[in-house]
């Protein structure tokens, strides 16, 4: 092992080092602007160094930096950049000493990036824990009653789910004798393997991962954590933490062919259908925007699993494109919530948005674009993403799942449109509309996200091309 072997890890190191620099910096000089700028600079530098990694580089047996990993790390870094920008104005005045927020943000970004690059159970576990331990603190960060409650719920359930995950890892390790993803499939096909133990192992790992992805029936924590967490952190939980875990899941099941295990395939198909229905049906009952978006994210992960179950290279394209669209849309939607939030509470009741179009037409238009994309209306990135998922599912003849997806999209349309109707209704009496001026950085970010959303919806070829080039190496 030489220094040159570690060179591909520079993007990850930049993130880690900048969190340490900020931590040491805070000891001498507390300033939100300073920590915020350092964070943005760290993420930007890490993003630029991604382009310096050439070809596929395996770093020990733990991490691999191939095009797939680089793409996902780039996506994760971009999302954290947006969250860092959104949170800067949000945090002001909510509690003293807000600088540590950025350390935690960088650390969880690091954990998620490690997940996207990991090829080994040890790096998987470490990445997941770096991500979740910093998330516990981020969720409870502003320390009001709801924050703490959300933090406690996430803490207890996430810790228990990692115990299940680890037990699964131990069983798979015991049966196959390896923790490397690439050698696992040969270990599985070896003679004298105990099928029962192997399937128990897979089931336990799936439980742990399913919890992180918030798919039914492991979704119970999601609405409460989404509602209780500060709005930018909610955006972070919905995008960065799920994106990293999904990237890992996809990589794992490309190495280990799931179609060889009908029971495993059936279990994932059940999870997909259950998530779609649970997410969409329960969202109909909600009166809180954050909770609606939480249930909608459960449903979206269900859609993603449909593409995940499809075979071939098509699924990587479908999943990746959908995740990009989902990232943009979710960040945009929670960005609007963040911008409108007053200091006492977040703007999360549906009534807060009544007649938003009258006071803030641009914000209302942006929010509508995001909701249209979540619903999968043409001209938005969400439509193209859904189209690819249906194509991938149909290509593998998963008709039942595709039909479920279509039914669920129709159900989903109802509650997205309900919010949009409220946006354009007569203004009600809400203190949220009284927010005097909108922060400039946040507005710029939202405009940029909307442009990206429409651009990908109208002209998706460049991104598709990029994803195709990335998947060719598999």
């Amino acid at each position: 092992m030489t220094l040159n072997d570690l060179a591909p890890l520079i993007p990850l190191m930049v993130i880690a080092v900048s969190s340490v620099i900020i931590m040491l910096g805070i000891a001498f000089y507390r300033s939100r602007a300073f920590s915020g700028l350092l964070t943005l600079a760290g993420i930007a530098v890490a993003f630029i160094t991604l382009f310096g990694v050439q070809g596929t580089r395996q770093v020990t047996s733990l991490l691999i930096l191939d095009d797939y990993a680089l793409f996902y790390i780039g996506l994760i870094l971009a999302a954290s950049f947006v969250v860092a920008l959104l949170s800067s104005d949000y945090l002001e005045g909510r509690r003293e000493n807000i600088e540590e927020f950025y350390i935690l943000l960088l650390l969880s970004t690091l954990g998620s990036s490690v997940l996207a690059a990991s090829t080994h159970f040890v790096s998987f576990f470490i990445g997941l824990e770096i991500l979740s331990v910093s998330l516990y603190a981020l969720i409870a960060y502003t320390r009001n009653e709801l924050n703490i409650e959300a933090g406690v719920k996430y803490l207890v359930l996430a810790a228990a789910s990692s115990a299940f995950l680890l037990f699964g890892i131990a069983l798979l390790y015991g049966e196959t004798g390896t923790m490397e993803f690439s050698r696992m499939s040969s270990g599985i096909s070896a003679q004298g393997i105990n099928k029962g133990m192997l399937l128990t192992g897979f089931a336990l790992v799936l439980t742990g991962v399913g919890f992180k992805l918030a798919v039914a029936p492991f979704h119970m924590w999601t609405p409460d954590v989404y509602e209780g967490a500060p709005a930018p952190v909610t955006a972070f939980v919905a995008t960065v933490s799920k994106g990293g875990v999904f990237a890992l899941l996809l990589r794992y099941f490309i190495q280990v062919d799931m179609h060889a295990y009908p029971s495993l395939f059936g279990a994932v198909a059940f999870i997909a259908v259950a998530s779609m229905f649970a997410g969409n049906l329960l969202a109909l009952l909600q009166k809180n925007i954050k909770r609606i978006l939480a249930y909608s994210s459960i449903a979206h992960l269900g859609y993603l699993l449909v593409a995940f179950l499809a075979g071939g290279v098509m699924r990587v394209t479908a999943v990746t494109f959908y995740l990009v669209a989902y990232f943009i849309t979710t960040l945009g939607a929670f960005g609007v919530v963040t911008m409108l939030s007053g200091k006492e509470r977040d703007a999360d009741a549906v009534e807060d948005y009544q007649g938003l179009f009258r006071h803030r037409p641009w914000l209302a238009l942006i929010f509508s674009a995001m909701l249209f994309s979540l619903a999968g209306i043409p001209l938005t990135a969400g439509f193209i993403g859904k189209f690819y998922i249906v194509a991938a599912g149909a290509g593998s003849a998963l008709w039942l799942l595709v039909i479920m997806l279509v039914i669920n999209s129709a159900i989903g349309l109802y509650y997205y449109l309900r919010i949009i109707v409220v946006l354009y209704a007569q203004p009600g009496h809400s203190e949220v509309s009284a927010v005097s001026s909108l922060p400039l950085t946040g507005s710029l970010v939202l405009v940029l996200l909307t442009v990206l959303l429409l651009w990908l919806g109208v002209y998706p070829e460049p991104l598709i091309e990029m994803i195709h080039r990335m998947t060719m190496r598999f």
Binding site: V122, I148, I169, E227, L285, N288
Partner: protein
């Protein structure tokens, strides 16, 4: 030498005790202890697999698990103290502002 499956049974039993404690107790500190019990059950099986396969990697993972469990306990107790300051209770059912 004690056969492998004895260790696995021990580990499974300790894990189930942890799961039972996690599901049945409502005091958050006890729930946290149960999670530690589950993690240590995993450690037992990892070490025994590692010994049985004559492969050190399982034991290395155990060190990571111990370190991570310590980090988790540090953050976790911090959040529990914050909860206690708000509610003067360590009972999870008292944290019930959000429903639905």
């Amino acid at each position: 030498m004690i056969p492998l499956h004895w260790y696995l049974w021990l580990s499974a039993v300790v894990f189930m005790v942890g799961v039972a404690g996690f599901l049945m107790r409502r005091n958050i500190i006890i729930m946290f202890m149960s999670i530690e019990l589950m993690l240590n059950a995993v450690n037992i099986s990892l070490v025994s697999f590692s010994r049985y396969l004559d492969d050190m990697r399982g034991q290395i993972l155990v060190f990571f698990i111990i370190a991570v469990a310590a980090a988790e306990a540090a953050i976790g107790l911090g959040i529990i103290i914050a909860l206690f300051r708000n509610k003067v209770t360590a009972h999870v059912d008292e944290a019930n502002e959000m429903k639905g």
